[in-house]
Symmetry: C2
Subunit: 408 residues, 2 copies
């Protein structure tokens, strides 16, 4: 099997390195005479690297080379990646990609192209690189109707929340530490506002529920409003705060969101610490499968890309509906708030004692987490959805809510 790699950045070079090292092992595993990278498409010349002799700058050489079985796209971005992938499939080549943005925005067109040209299109590495969550959904759980998932889909925010919980860092200090360690970008917006998690949630919804969901359909809230007080009150009460992307399907409607949530310390996701990612999946036959792993990084992501390349060979480079969604295309987004029944609330008042009594009355009972010493009032309460919650909070005269986190 001969492979062309598009883009020799972090993941792309990882793919080349793995195949250069283990090509002969891979060949046995997928019944090929050999597994090797023939071309590396990159803008640079990559002089004095192990890649130099294979570098080309022109996609045409790849498209026109009948020897190339699989094109592995790791350029990132939508264009020219999309055009290159479409052309490669039209030329009868399988396409494997780790490009989250490409799959989230153009997944449907790419799948249709794969079907039309009877080639494989695989994107296992596009969500949580290093955790084969898509392959688990499409292959290991192919026997299931997936009912719901929830996951810690962003390592940067999980690192920040873990540091706040375990080391009593403020949000700002934890973010700054994550930037120093290279876990967060200089401009961390994409991570801390939940946009990265929303793209992954969109792909997981599409994969789990069979209908393409776009990132901008996902109601998204990041972690910037979570304070050390919130994390500490909840920790003392036996809960961990996590940024959770979740989705479920009921009566043909898809419900999905990204938002901070409080998880009981008995919840297996609550033990997923630091930069680790994790996804919990529930199917009709498989009630609880949890996968956790790095979620990013050169070799872990390359590992997923190469597994997809080997799978192309096992499928004889033909189209099989392994990674695809088309089972019920009429899924409409529903309002996830309706399913929330329990909340952590923190706020303040000028008369803690009186206001606490009013809050207690409004909810007919709460679990108080604050000790009454400060102006803070923090508690866990029950309410049938957000609008009921808000009505009750409004009715507690003198209470000014600051922070609301659903308890899952």
């Amino acid at each position: 099997m001969k492979i062309a790699v598009l883009g020799c950045g972090t993941v792309g070079s990882g793919v080349v390195d793995l195949i250069d090292e283990l090509g002969s092992v891979y060949a046995k595993r997928c019944s090929q005479k050999s597994v090797e990278v023939k071309y590396i498409l990159d803008l640079r010349d990559l002089k004095d690297t192990p890649y130099e002799t294979r570098v080309i700058h022109d996609i045409e050489s790849i498209i026109n080379d009948g020897e190339i079985d699989v094109v592995a796209e790791m350029m990132g971005g939508t264009e020219p990646a999309f055009t290159f992938c479409m052309r490669a499939m039209a030329a009868g080549k399988c396409v494997v990609t780790s490009n989250k943005q490409l799959v989230a925005e153009k997944g449907e067109a790419l799948m249709a192209q794969a079907e039309k040209n009877d080639v494989a299109f695989m994107f296992g590495a596009s969500v949580c690189g290093g955790i084969p969550v898509l392959r688990n959904i499409f292959s290991c759980l192919s026997s299931n109707k997936t009912e719901s998932f929830s996951g810690i889909l962003n390592g940067t925010t999980n690192y920040i929340l873990t540091k706040m919980t375990e080391e009593k860092s403020s949000f700002e200090a934890a973010l700054s530490d994550a930037q120093k360690k290279g876990f967060a970008e200089k401009d961390p917006t994409d991570d801390i506002e939940g946009f990265d998690a929303a793209r992954k949630t969109a792909i997981l919804c599409s994969a789990c529920f069979g209908s393409h969901v776009y990132p901008d359909e996902i109601k998204t809230k990041g972690i910037t409003e979570i304070t050390l007080e919130d994390v500490t009150y909840l920790k003392n009460a036996g809960f961990a705060v996590k940024l959770i992307g979740r989705g479920s399907v009921k009566d043909g409607r898809i419900y999905a969101c990204v938002a901070p949530a409080a998880l009981s310390e008995k919840d297996i996701l609550s033990g997923v610490r630091g930069v680790l990612n994790a996804v919990f999946i529930k199917g009709n036959a498989m009630p609880e499968l949890m996968l956790s792993g790095p979620g990013a990084g050169k070799l872990p992501t390359a590992s997923d890309v190469v597994a997809d390349i080997l799978e192309c060979a096992r499928l004889k480079f033909k189209n099989e509906p392994v990674y695809s969604w088309s089972e019920h295309r009429d899924g409409i987004m529903g309002d996830v708030d309706l399913s929330e029944k329990r909340f952590y609330v923190r706020g303040f008042s000028n008369d803690t004692e009186k206001t606490t009594a009013r809050v207690r009355e409004a909810f007919g009972g709460i679990k108080l987490l604050s000790d009454g010493g400060a102006k803070d009032i923090a508690f866990i309460c029950e309410a049938d959805g957000r609008s009921v919650l808000n009505d009750r909070l409004d009715s507690a005269d003198g209470f000014v809510p600051v922070s609301v986190i659903p308890v899952l």
Copy 2:
């Protein structure tokens, strides 16, 4: 695709139920016109059940029916399951099995038969039913050289240990509760002595390291000697006791054992509670993948069987070395004790104060977990392997060790 089910017990009936309910969905997922169960081989007639009209008592009808693409074996035991599977493959049919004993004892012969007859032989459900750990190793991690694994592979013992830890039950009370709830057999030997976990560890070693390992090669210790004192001392020090099956490979030697171990509460496996199972896998490219799930049960196990059946169709019913081990057949078992460096030890003496001082001296420092009030002395110490540990314990005059648990 037409399927014959051998054995309509718990898992077998689950497979028929899933296919009866979701056959048309499955057909799309693996590009077949239909997916259906044509025969159910069972000793009983299964009168007045949904299975009745498909029941047969004679394997010959299945072997001789050219319409049957896949035989799904869920009879259990080695014979006649082995003979039936060998014959089915000789007749050109793919075989899928959930039979742990069959795979552990006859895996090599079955794989050779599959290769010889160019059919698929799949056994994803034979370890931790409901956690697709084998499919993850062979498919999702096909790009990796697996270096080590460790897992909670037995739900009964994990339930007992969780109950001891969280509810301060004695071992006897927790076992009796597990029996009442149906999590433990009347004769629980196979679970509590670690034999069940050893069979799974053997299959995982074979799958991860490419060389067939037999259960009786695995050094095995169960949980019968773990006391409430041990669990409590360790819990208070931030550790959870788990029955761990583990394996690793170094310089062509395979190291493996089943034994209780103390895990830090920051270790993701320590949060796997109750009857849940989990496996942690480390490959050269994928540093930490953790899978957790039910590990047993009708539908979860059937889910793995059906996923394998669909995979047979995706591979056009041909042999692909998906589930197989043959990469380095010269793996010899090594002594896992060598890798242990930290231990929990509990014992007693007639003079706690003096003996504690001697223990402290023997190890050049220990972390004392007991409070000196009782005759118990419990501590965590470091030593370079078991024999060094034992020498040092011997040298602490007056100390009688009762319990030793490695800290992983």
